[in-house]
């Protein structure tokens, strides 16, 4: 019984790594008390999506690398999101004087 070893890293390895990163990000997004850590978790999730896009672009779309173009757009949007998110965080901190997510309940019923 000969087990055929792949000569290159398979696509599934990248997908599994991206799944690990995404699920870690989701868990951190739900469970973080600190608002800055919530933003970090969002960045982790965006990076997981980028790994998926890049892996598909390299393995399935090697000539027209559209996945890389999408990854660049995702990086752009992530940078804008980080800037606006941290500005909102500073504004919240100035008004409530805390970064505890459980105390940001202004819009709750």
């Amino acid at each position: 019984m000969s087990l055929e070893l792949p000569t290159t890293v398979p696509l599934q390895a990248y997908l599994a790594l991206a799944a690990i990163l995404f699920c870690t990000g989701v868990w951190g997004l739900i469970n973080s008390r600190n608002a800055v850590r919530v933003l970090m978790s969002i960045e982790l999730m965006l990076n997981a999506v980028n790994i998926n896009l890049m892996a598909f672009s390299s393995y399935l779309d090697g000539q027209l690398i559209r996945g890389q173009v999408f990854a660049i757009f995702v990086i752009t949007v992530a940078a804008a999101e980080a800037a606006v998110g941290l500005a909102i965080l500073l504004s919240l901190y100035r008004n409530r004087e805390t970064v505890d997510m459980e105390r940001f309940n202004l819009l709750r019923w």
């Binding site: 870690t24 992530a78 505890d100």
Partner: protein
């Protein structure tokens, strides 16, 4: 197995271990400064993965934008909101963590099942290799021109929005004398706007209020 492929496997194993452990550290470490530096490590490892996927331009963009801009921005935010505070205990927090962990594990299993069951059409076309940057430039100025221009508008909007949101109201008037009062420092004591129990202002010191603009 040749030397090249074993080197590739070793690099992938090291980078993916760095990504996974770093992400867990970002989420789980109690000190948020360590989390921020580990986040920088995760970003660098992801850039290394992009290099393994023949994408040097995106790897450079990842290092410049994520490590150079986003991570520094997060560190600045940590410095600006760095107040030691003890979070109040919440009933059922452990149960919530376990339940959300179960949900995330289920999502992970689902994603793994999709990844390993789907018959991907690998190997696809021959990877373009070093000419990826040229091809990205062709894409950005031909069929992805509209999103490219819209990205510039988005960045401008994000810049203006961040400035407006994070701006301090430095032009304030004293409520008694009507003279302009300096509110330049965040740390300066003043009436919190949205706290449930506002701090009692002593009658000797007039309370400065923010001027509505």
């Amino acid at each position: 197995m040749t030397i090249a492929s074993s080197t590739q496997f070793l690099c992938f194993a090291a980078l993916s271990a760095a990504v996974a452990i770093g992400a867990l550290g970002v989420v789980l470490l109690p000190n948020i400064v360590y989390s921020a530096f580990l986040l920088g490590g995760v970003f660098l490892s992801v850039a290394g993965l992009y290099l393994m996927l023949n994408a040097s331009f995106v790897a450079a963009a990842q290092v410049l934008v994520y490590v150079g801009a986003v991570n520094v921005l997060i560190l600045f935010a940590i410095m600006l909101v760095n107040k030691k505070e003890t979070m109040a205990a919440i009933p059922g927090l452990a149960l919530r963590r376990v339940l959300s962990g179960a949900v995330c594990a289920g999502l992970f299993g689902l994603l793994l099942r999709v990844a390993f069951i789907t018959p991907w059409a690998t190997p696809g076309p021959e990877p373009i290799g070093d000419e990826a940057t040229i091809r990205i430039g062709e894409h950005l100025f031909s069929d992805y021109l509209l999103p490219f221009e819209l990205a510039s508008v988005l960045l401008l909007m994000a810049m203006i929005g961040a400035i407006v949101l994070a701006r301090r109201d430095v032009l304030s008037a004293d409520i008694v004398t009507g003279e302009p009062a300096d509110q330049g420092l965040i740390e300066k004591s003043r009436t919190p706007l949205l706290l449930e129990t506002p701090a009692p202002a002593s009658p000797a010191v007039p309370t400065p209020v923010l001027e509505k603009r």
